[in-house]
Amino acid sequence: MKYEVNQLAFSYGQKPIISNLSFSLHEGEWLTILGPNGCGKSTLIAVLLRILERNQGEIRFEGKSLQGWDRKALARRVAVVYQKNEIPFGFTVREIIEMGRYPYQGRWNRWSEADEKAVQTALDLTHTEEFSKKSFRELSGGEQQRVLIARAIAQEPEVLILDEPIAHLDLRYQYEVLRLCQKLQKEQGMTILSVLHEINLAAEFSDRLLLMNRGTALAKGRPSEVVVPRLIKEAYGINIEIVQKNGKPYLFPIF
């Protein structure tokens, strides 16, 4: 079991964002969190990464309380890719990917063979070698996203968290990024936790879905169990119709 979240609650001051949320992330699976804007998805990711500290409830990572994890030790197991990442100054692609090795390095020690190997693997898997010497800022949105994923791969994580990784990409790059993650899941055995807005894509790529609404879990289960008219209506307030293709549900809104 990677993450076990039990009765989690989080609030900003008096304003509750997450309440009574429980779920778990199994080893090797792809779990996608869905839900309307403001339902607490991004806050949940921040809590799981210990950017924010939970108020109540329990979070365990690999059986050990998340609070008890050393930050660098956790960083060797969990990596994250965000929707967009503006990086000031002209860092080259390679320099950015190399920063993925930060949790493995001491203050002064030299670049090791293991570091080099991890960076090379990341470059190969994401096909970013060709522009590795270029400045990150010169790349297109889709290329930048590949570099950020490469940086996460260089971290050699067991869990890859994706917080709306495709929100600003066009259709081709959306698929490219998700296929790459699928490859990491199937071939490298990575566990994937993603936040997505595109319900059809979520259903296509994920093993399980967690539908959130108002800070808590509305439904958990296989895509065909979660993407149903009743639940979608409750979360998003719109009527849908479902079409099955290759055993996966695809939804169409009805107005």
Partner: protein, 342 residues
């Protein structure tokens, strides 16, 4: 990036250090009384080995007048560039600079108060630096929180907050000048920056602080790189972004305060120098920090040498020279930022 490989970067750094040293020797020889560089080297070597082989008058000028001033220019330049480099990483903004953010004005006000108020004079030279630090850190924090919206600090709000704070603090300094006629020349010198007050005493206080500053900042070099990926990403790589940023801002404010209490307000050094060396060695702080620090020393010494030699028998405040060189540079940088190239 001009220097690409590690070897080039290390050789480049050595060349830079040698260059600054040569500049020091020539700057010592420069002035109303010209002293040939061979004699300067001789006197320096004598100083190190405790000998006296050159006649007393020249030796006095070199050791008691020129060298303290020149070392102070180098040291202040190093401090300001180090602060500028670290501010730019913490604020994720190439425009961050102790002068533009008002840190220097805050330090100057603190130091002015310590100089003017008789109750504070019991602390002596240390008191001036301590009050400069209080002024520097409170101004930096005020600007930081004024400029911050959510998790982001935009260039415009950062500069606006800095300008507002500096004008406010400068106004208070001006008020103090009106109330303390006798010290008006001294305070005025402060606000424009000058190395006239250079002394071995000031150098003795500043040297260890600069040394510690360079060491500790280099200790955080990789963290500074990771911080540029954004706070959330930094956390996920094992860096406690808020803690590290807080520590770096406190250390930077101490360094800025030391610089200001030695020389007053000197602008643009922390802006120009890191930017220049980012073009030479790239943005990786493992190299950039040390390059900018050494180069900043050389740059400010160059400006000071211009300031005291360009007009016969008149010395221009060094802050005027850096501003005349820095303001056009700042405009270019702002223009490029607007176009999204920075």
């Amino acid at each position: 990036m001009v220097l690409k490989t590690k070897t080039q970067k290390i050789l480049g750094l050595m060349a830079l250090i040698v260059g600054v040293f040569i500049l020091i020797v020539f700057a010592v020889g420069f002035g109303a009384i010209k002293i040939p560089w061979r004699e300067v080297v001789q006197i320096m070597a004598d100083g190190v080995f405790g000998r006296e082989s050159i006649d007393g008058h020249t030796r006095f000028i070199v050791l008691n007048l020129r060298i303290p001033r020149i070392l102070m220019a180098v040291m202040v330049g190093m401090l300001l560039s180090l602060v500028g480099t670290s501010y730019q990483a913490v604020f994720k903004n190439p425009m961050a600079d102790p002068y533009l953010l008002g840190t220097s004005s805050g330090a100057a006000l603190g130091a002015t108060l310590a100089l003017l108020l008789p109750q504070l004079q019991v602390f002596g030279y240390f008191g001036v630096t301590a009050f400069a630090f209080l002024g520097a850190i409170s101004t930096t924090l005020a600007v930081y929180f004024l400029a911050k919206t959510g998790n982001k600090i935009s260039t415009i709000s950062l500069l606006l907050s800095g300008i507002i704070m500096s004008s406010f603090l400068s106004a208070i300094i001006s008020l103090l000048m009106i109330f303390h006629h006798e010290e008006i020349a001294m305070i005025y010198n402060w606000t424009l920056g000058s190395f006239n007050g250079a002394s071995w005493q000031g150098l003795k206080l500043a040297t260890p602080i600069l040394g510690i500053g360079i060491l500790v900042m280099s200790f955080w070099a990789k963290d500074l790189n990771v911080l540029l990926l954004g706070d959330a990403q930094a956390y996920s790589l094992g860096v406690h972004a808020q803690n590290v940023k807080r520590k770096i801002l406190i250390l930077s404010s101490i360094l800025a305060a030391v610089a200001v209490s030695m020389s007053g307000i000197i602008g643009f050094v922390g802006l120009i120098v890191p930017h220049f060396f980012r073009m030479i060695v790239g943005p990786d702080h493992r190299y950039l920090l040390i390059y900018a620090t050494v180069g900043g020393g050389g740059f400010l010494l160059l400006c000071d040498t211009i300031a005291r030699s360009i007009l016969p028998n008149t010395e221009i405040p060094v802050g005027v020279v850096t501003a005349i060189l820095g303001a056009p540079f700042f405009m270019i940088l702002l223009y490029r930022t607007k176009q999204g190239r920075e």
